[in-house]
């Protein structure tokens, strides 16, 4: 009887295939199709032409927003890395109190369970002209007038996005550091290496896959964000996802919005494959 076996084969192969078709090929296929259509009042009509992609290249507003989004995402990733790495390193190598370790790790992860919107709103109350940060700076006499420099600009977006996405940097780095056998750094110091040399030559290279994973996650998440520009961004804070939103929304130009989505997808895929390559190289280098 081949019945049960073929059923299980169908399930084993069928589920992932169905998944890929329904959740990837179908939606992306639709978006790709739309991206060749043309805008025609009152909506848009089927066509096959590259006008939308041409618009993205020729009209400077799209390149401008794309570059700004890349810049903001890179800043968020770098800032997250600078904050997350020392923290993860301290957790793994210096924090010997197990309950403190658990508590500190949870303190980073816990915000993930709080609504994204709420976390973004909190930064609004902290950074505002009459906000907590200004009140603090004024009460300590550092500034005499409330500053409007903290909210509704790119700085506020970077701070907010860093806060929101930093757990995605801490987790992979923590995991990578924890996998490093303790005897490696002992051997390194036995061979006469100073602690900083051990860090640069042993710990850092071995944690590269964690850094690459964290960088990819924070970068791609920031790259697709449109809540932060809406809540804490200023007049110069438009990001690419907001533009896509307005093309699908107010502008009623789904073809152009689709073309923009495809460009965004290509960039994200390029970053993911680059990160894969870095991780692979780091892993083979370790052997």
């Amino acid at each position: 009887m081949s019945g049960p076996r073929s059923l299980s084969t169908v399930l084993i192969l069928g589920i992932p295939i169905l998944w890929v078709v329904v959740f990837m090929l179908l939606p992306y296929g639709i978006i790709v199709t739309y991206s060749f259509w043309v805008k025609a009042y009152p909506t848009f009509k089927p066509a096959f032409q590259f006008g939308n992609y041409l618009t993205l290249v020729t009209d400077p507003q799209y390149v401008q927003v794309l570059l700004r989004t890349l810049k903001i995402s890179a800043l968020v990733s770098v800032l997250s890395l600078l904050l997350a790495y020392p923290f993860a390193w301290w957790l793994v190598f210096r924090c010997h109190n197990q309950s403190l370790k658990t508590w500190a790790y949870m303190a980073v992860i816990a915000p993930l369970w709080v609504s994204y919107l709420l976390r973004a709103y909190i930064w609004k109350t902290i950074l505002g002209t009459e906000g907590i940060l200004n009140s603090f700076l004024m009460s300590t006499g550092i500034i005499s007038e409330p500053s409007s420099l903290f909210l509704y600009n790119q700085f506020a977006m970077v701070v907010t996005l860093t806060y929101i996405f930093i757990p995605f940097m801490v987790m992979p780095i923590y995991t990578a550091l924890e996998r490093i056998p303790a005897n490696l750094s002992e051997a390194s110091s036995d061979l006469g290496m100073a602690p900083w040399q051990t860090f640069l030559k042993v710990t850092l290279p071995l944690s590269t896959p964690g850094i690459a994973a964290g960088f990819t996650l924070t970068f791609c998440l920031s790259f697709g964000d449109f809540i932060a520009p809406f809540l804490v961004g200023g007049p110069d804070g438009n990001l690419i996802a907001s533009v896509i939103q307005s093309q699908f929304g107010s502008a009623l130009n789904w073809p152009l919005g689709s073309a923009l989505s495809i460009v965004m997808l290509v960039i994200v895929l390029a970053i993911v494959s680059l990160s894969d390559r870095i991780e692979a190289r780091a892993n083979t280098g370790a052997h």
């Binding site: 906000g131 007049p235 110069d236 502008a251």
Partner: protein, 343 residues
């Protein structure tokens, strides 16, 4: 997310269809509990409201798998698009008590009909006025140019909407704001880019503008006349509305029935209520907007309110530049506004 939620609500509500439901996509205040609760009790129709932040939200919400909403309330610059998109059905005006009481000039607006058939029931109207914080200005601002005053750097806000182009065009002296040429749109765009360093934030919803004033972030902006100013007054923040020397835009909102609604009976009950004293004074009291039915308004408003809302003076609306459908030119305006924001 909100859509799935409404869909779920609609699903769970369907067993109780005998009672009836009506799902409205509208502006904040147009389905306020202060008068909707009474309607629900009297009619047996449960009202589920979803709110929009801009007229540009109607089409995407209905196109992206609509079927959830029975009634919408777009403004006069968007009603024609709804008809062109085939999203709404002709009104059975005979089923609307008080249809004949609506200001004649509103009923006859071209944006509300096609081939002599009516598609929209005028509901409320007003101006896109400007507004400033009393405690900041010794000389009251009178012109749009005051939103370009470098002394107010970082304290200015403007509605995140294509209407920003209308504002800048008037400042440039181009008063035919709904028929701007490409050059005039380009000039308006340049003017808005010039203003950007002064702008604290472009406001997207009524609530956001109120928050911006409350938090001391903004001292001058445009506004939906009557609405945000009264919300701010309730918070103890004194603001004054003004019509600038360059003139202001006027708007009119109209209820439209979504094509093939399964809840037609409740929808018409809702329309009748909105055009009666209950609905007309409901919106006047909640939002501070003027009523489209002066007969109902006279019945429920105090003489002071009647005069303050220009109900005895519909010519006031003529002094405003009433929004018009942009049609083929829509894209040029939105594209220019997006380019400003991209800077």
């Amino acid at each position: 997310m909100k859509k799935t939620l409404t869909a779920l609500l609609a699903l769970t509500a369907s067993p109780a269809l005998a009672e009836g439901t009506v799902n409205v996509l509208t502006w904040e205040g147009y389905a306020d509990a202060s008068f909707i609760t009474q309607f629900e009790e009297e009619s047996g129709c449960k009202v589920t409201a979803t709110y929009v932040g801009s007229n540009d939200d109607f089409a995407p919400k209905l196109l992206g798998g609509g079927g959830v909403y029975d009634l919408i309330a777009p403004s006069i610059d968007t009603t024609a698009l709804m008809i062109d998109l085939g999203l709404v059905e002709p009104l059975d005006t005979a089923a609307i008590t008080g249809w004949g009481d609506i200001y004649q000039k509103f009923r006859d607006l071209p944006g509300l009909q096609r081939d002599g058939v009516h598609y929209g029931m005028p509901y409320s109207w007003g101006a896109i006025a400007f507004m400033y914080r009393n405690d900041v200005f010794t000389t009251p601002p009178t012109s749009i140019a005051d939103l370009w005053n470098p002394d107010l750097a970082g304290k200015v806000s403007l509605w995140d909407d294509k209407s920003a182009i209308y504002v800048a065009a008037r400042l440039n002296g181009d008063s035919d704001i709904y028929n701007l040429t490409d050059e005039q749109i380009e000039a308006a765009k340049a003017k808005l880019i010039e203003q950007k360093p002064l702008v604290r934030k472009y406001w997207a919803t009524a609530g956001e503008l109120v928050d911006l004033y409350k938090a001391g972030e903004v001292v001058i902006s445009n506004t939906w006349a009557g609405y945000q100013s009264s919300l701010l007054a309730a918070e103890g923040i004194e603001v004054t509305e003004f019509i600038p020397t360059e003139g202001a835009e006027g708007w009119l909102d109209a209820w439209m029935v979504v094509k093939d609604t399964p809840n037609r009976e409740c929808a018409y009950k809702f329309l009748n209520m909105q055009l009666s004293a209950l609905g007309q004074c409901g919106v006047a009291n909640v939002n501070g907007y003027s009523a489209a039915n002066p007969v109902a308004a006279k019945a429920c408003m105090s003489p002071e309110q009647f005069t303050a809302l220009h109900q005895d003076d519909p010519d006031y609306l003529d002094s405003l530049m009433i929004w018009t459908a942009l049609g083929e030119r829509f894209e040029a305006y939105t594209n220019a506004w997006n380019a400003v924001k991209a800077q």
